[in-house]
Amino acid sequence: MFDTVLIANRGEIALRIQRACRGLGLRTVAVYSEADADAPYLQAADQALCIGPPAPGQSYLNQAAILFAAKISGAQAIHPGYGFLSENAGFAARVEAAGLVFVGPSAECIRTMGDKVAAKRAMRTAGVPCVPGPDQALPSGPAAIHAIADAIGYPVIVKAAGGGGGRGMRVVHEPATLIDALAVTREEARRAFGNAEVYIEKFLSHPRHVEIQVLADSHGNALWLGSRDCSLQRRNQKVVEEAPAPGIPVAQVAAVGERCAEACRQIGYCGVGTFEFLYENDAFYFIEMNTRLQVEHPVTEMTTGIDIVQQQLRVARGERLSLHQADIVCTGHAIECRLNAEDPRSFAPAPGWITDWVLPGGFSVRVDSHAGAGYRVSPYYDSMFAKLIVHGATRADALDRMRLALAEMQVGGIATNLALHREIMDDSGFTAGGVDIHHLERWLAARAVA
């Protein structure tokens, strides 16, 4: 099996994967764009190769360059991280065709889950609860479409089958606007995703975002590692995540978790993945699956004690899972804050040099970051420069520890959202637990007026 992994990503997740590889004794090949040539984590790799100019399309999304880098470096596996090529079925297929291991599920699994209608069908088959609405392509006749929407009950949401992550959707409140909304969304979807297929679902007005982490090997074994709540979002971007999702009965999470693991077994899923759900009125509704490692995986690592990235690499190497579902225990509570280089009020991006850098530490505090004093946050990529994660015996304890960690952390030279996180940890809605996905936007709007 492979002993050298090419890390086809950048920033904190490139460092995270680097660490996991080192822990398993695997050699690493880092690839980087010209904009990241000075990134400190490149020093830690066994080899580092430049794959192109700063623009992602010419470097981190440049499939040919990455495959070439794998070839000349002798890497036998490619870890795509998150974002970039991590959910690109075509890339996974090219990696496989080149005789290399794609650290993730098969191209076929990625393709199935990338088509939201096909994914929903697969989930229904496995008994995973889904948002009300058909898991088939829509009929062409307006009357038949109206009948479907009426059966679901308004408001409904029109979604692009090729969309995801909050893009390509439109809410419809009454029958009169349905056909027009469908046409517009189709056209948008055709342009944005190269796939005009759309579908209709029940629109949930005040759901929470709750997700289940799964881990599956290539021998038919699949586990679920507990729940996460990622409801604190701004413009569909997660800001704070926690594990477990507060206030949801353990038995209900276990029932859904077992269905997710079963879905993995049925579709022959191998690797780590996340089933994303809306949770409203005490019920779970599947929305989509992320067929990759996620930004927020550390909260699950903190509550289960499992190094998810090492497990991901192990199953990619063909190892059989040594864990059993009965071994998975969720202990205490973990919270993650995503620290972004942005204005804490206007959210304007704020790339630049980091001049001061003081990290929090001590009991149960974890920092995942590629940055430090003297690091320049690039304007070419995502604004996240660090993840701050804490664990506590209870959610209240975790909140206290996060407040302390946020108070200790100091970043100078760039604007950051540290102040926003400090305010969030004192917001009575968030601290009570279980807010919906609109809470943060409502709170920000109210703060802007105040």
Binding site: P349, A350, P351
Partner: protein, 139 residues
């Protein structure tokens, strides 16, 4: 004038608000000038430092220079096939779009603060610009 005396003078200057100090003794003259920058380069190795151009809002730009408020990639056209926002010699009005600066997937539109004429465009489209870097000369 031995070393101790010189050291004492240096200490005295450092502890004062003076910028310069001149000292004569027995035909010897010592002139000390305080570094214009309060922090001189330390002799010890330090972590990588930002170069001279800071990301923090710079001191007021010279009149006529229109500077980027942030670090990013400047675009002089709204889209690759569209005509440029402005051209040299063109008269502009306050509020008119001059360019966009792309940072972290977001485009910030920069607009003229006053009426004037674009005398020169100081950057090329697609170029990385520092916070505080002059983009246009507008008179």
């Amino acid at each position: 004038m031995d070393r101790i005396t010189i050291k004492a003078l240096i200490d005295a200057l450092e502890a004062s608000d003076l910028a310069e100090l001149e000292y004569s003794q027995d035909g010897a003259t010592l002139r000390l000038v305080k570094a214009g920058c309060a922090i001189a380069a330390p002799a010890v190795a330090l972590p990588p430092r930002p170069p001279a151009l800071p990301d923090a809002p710079p001191p007021a730009a010279p009149p006529g220079e229109f500077c980027s408020p942030l670090y990013g990639v400047v675009h002089l056209r709204p889209s690759p096939n569209a005509p440029p926002f402005v051209q040299p010699g063109q008269a502009i009005r306050a509020g008119q779009s001059l360019c966009t600066v792309e940072a972290m997937k977001a485009f910030t539109e920069l607009r003229a603060e006053t009426d004037g004429v674009v005398q020169a465009i100081l950057v090329e489209s697609g170029q990385e610009v520092e916070s505080g870097q002059p983009l246009f000369r507008i008179v």
